[in-house]
């Protein structure tokens, strides 16, 4: 149990740093999806299955969709402007 908690904490910290430091937005969005999955593992290890379910659907489905559509809109407008 202790090993699972420590590894979950370490993974969350590492992926949070990756999301913050990577400046390419598309890669950052994908890294954010994986960061959300690490958070789900952490929440399950903390005995919170309801919270883990909520975080799972939000960060793997809803978040990447809105980020990618916002990016696509911006990219299309840039292309149209040229």
């Amino acid at each position: 149990m202790i090993g699972a908690q420590i590894s979950a904490l370490a993974l969350v910290a590492a992926f949070a740093l990756a999301v913050v430091l990577v400046h390419d937005v598309l890669r950052s969005a994908v890294l954010y999806g994986i960061y959300g999955l690490m958070l789900v593992v952490l929440f399950v290890v903390f005995q919170a299955p309801d919270v883990a379910l909520s975080q799972l659907v939000v960060s793997t489905v809803a978040f990447p969709v809105i980020i990618v559509t916002a990016l696509a809109k911006v990219a299309r407008r840039e292309r149209r402007r040229r």
């Binding site: 904490l9 969350v12 949070a16 740093l17 913050v20 954010y32 939000v58 402007r81």
Partner: protein, 114 residues
């Protein structure tokens, strides 16, 4: 191990704040805001955790079994959905800012053209 989850919560908040200040793109900034918010989720759940206790759901375990705190889980649950809503609004504003000024860089958005 006794204070590691709290340290993680502080780490997430600080990393998110640093990302907001150092970001070169409004959409990346919205992601960093969400990372900072997730620090609060970790803090809430870490406060409610009890050693060798199970989840507060008694459909398959006897009711006398020790369970973790359900109130902080309830708070975090709705917090996650609201966090997504905040991010959606931030992204919509980023799209609108790009429409009006042509750039997504926060540093170039400062000047108001009259």
């Amino acid at each position: 191990m006794t204070y590691a989850p709290y340290a993680l919560a502080v780490w997430l908040l600080v990393a998110g704040l640093f990302g907001i200040v150092a970001s070169k793109n409004l959409i990346h900034l919205a992601l960093c805001v969400t990372v900072a918010q997730s620090g609060t989720y970790v803090l809430l759940l870490a406060i409610g955790y009890r050693k060798h206790a199970t989840a507060p759901i008694f459909s398959d375990v006897p009711r006398s079994r020790r369970a973790v705190d359900p109130v902080v889980q309830a708070l975090t649950l709705t917090d996650i959905v609201v966090g997504l809503t905040v991010a959606a609004l931030l992204l919509a504003q980023a799209v609108k800012a790009h429409e009006h000024t042509g750039t997504l860089d926060p540093a170039e958005l400062r000047e108001m053209q009259g």
